[in-house]
Amino acid sequence: MSVLKREVLPLKTSNDVVLARQKVRQWAVELRFSLVDQTKLVTAASELARNALDHGKGGSMTIELLSEKAKSGLRLIFEDQGPGIPDIELALKDGFTSGSGMGLGLGGSKRLVNEFSIESEVGKGTRITIARWK
């Protein structure tokens, strides 16, 4: 699997979240993802970018264009040096329909992408990697 293109965007202000969304949309359009798949990926990116900003006290989003055998995909890595997530399993269980839960949108985002992995250490930070293949 190879990374054909990579870009890193800061996530320091709420406008950065909008810019991140637009960048993901742009690359997804270039890869000719279907509209629904684009929407899912951009929405997941929005959730995670916002988390990095609100809960992670700011961080960055790395976007990568991947290619493996016959298929292409997009990978997004959200990193922050925030407080970290103490109970990852709990965070993935969402209570979103009622608007409660930690508001992390993690469980929901997971369903929007093909690959989802999360590393987090309390006091050190969090790193969430998602990918969507065409």
């Binding site: 629904v36 055998k69 016959a70 298929k71």
Partner: protein, 296 residues
């Protein structure tokens, strides 16, 4: 195992010629691949094999030195899969390299029994593993082809029909898995917008079983439609399905269901503020009062 690499290098042309000749007796498929192209592929593979053995040895073909060979085989397998070769033909392409290789090895090492056996074993190992890589890549391409065709079939088999102004019907025939649900949902919702239809009747007469998963898929579709401002009615619920739904404890409280499409249509008409009236001038046969079960 540079022994092996050198033997192959020294005898490259002969090995390749024998290999191609052997293949022409069994699997060449001249109808699908031209001689020049085949020759080029064999040449490239042989030198990649030499490269691999020299750099990373004959055992670990996942190592870096073998990446050229692996990529080459993946490309060859993928293109053959698309061209219509069978998996046997593709694997044989690699495996038929054994005979000519063994011939050269035996010739060069006839004096040293032990070395001869070791080298032949190394060669076998290499080619077996490469054959597996090739077959795997072949499978992957075939599966991708099949899934693409399935997708196209899906799109063709879920038509959305306009029953009346603002009322759509979606008759689903066959099993409803998550891939199909996606297509069904997208299709339905796009038509809802395009025709500005507030009511969508999803008829499941043709859906063989409704288990929790299928119910979930249906519910997703209904929720999405609702979010957009349209209402779904499920029709074609057969008695067995009704029983299954209750037994499984599936909650369809918020969902309107009807036993058949015409009842669902009648409901949609009523909800959209319409009534069907019999015209006064229509001729009514005297017997019809005894025969008809329902007055519209």
């Amino acid at each position: 195992m540079n022994e092996l690499a050198e033997i192959i290098s020294r005898n490259e042309d002969r090995i390749r010629a024998e290999w191609i000749r052997d293949m022409s007796k069994t699997v060449q498929r001249a109808d699908l691949i031209g001689k020049a192209e085949l020759d080029e592929q064999c040449r490239a593979l042989l030198s990649a094999v030499v490269q691999g053995v020299k750099t990373s040895g004959p055992t670990d073909i996942s190592a870096a030195g073998w990446s050229a060979a692996r990529e080459l085989l993946q490309d060859i397998a993928a293109s053959r899969a698309r061209q219509g070769f069978s998996s046997v033909e593709v694997a044989t392409f690699v495996l038929s390299l054994k005979q000519p290789m063994f011939a050269s090895i035996r010739e060069e090492l006839s004096a040293n029994q032990d070395k001869l056996l070791d080298t032949i074993w190394a060669a076998t190992e290499v080619l077996d593993r490469l054959a597996l890589v090739t077959t795997e890549a072949f499978q992957a391409t075939r599966e991708e082809l099949i899934s693409r065709q399935q997708q196209e079939l899906l799109e063709l088999s879920t038509p959305v029909v306009k029953l009346w102004d603002g009322i759509l019907a979606l008759p689903i025939i066959g099993t409803l898995d998550s891939a199909r649900t996606q297509v069904v949902m997208e299709n339905l919702l796009q038509t809802v917008v395009a025709t500005n239809s507030k009511y969508a009747i999803i008829d499941i007469t043709g859906v063989p079983t409704v288990d929790t998963l299928v119910a979930q898929h249906l519910l997703k579709t209904i929720t999405a439609a609702r979010l957009m401002g349209a209402e779904c009615i499920i029709s074609g619920v057969r008695p067995q399905i009704a029983q299954t739904i209750v037994h499984l404890g599936i909650n369809l409280e918020d969902v309107v269901t009807k036993a058949n499409l015409s009842d669902a249509f009648a409901l949609a008409l009523t909800k959209s503020g319409r009534a069907v009236v019999r015209l006064a001038s229509a001729k009514v046969s005297p017997i019809s009062n005894f025969l008809s079960k329902r007055e519209e």
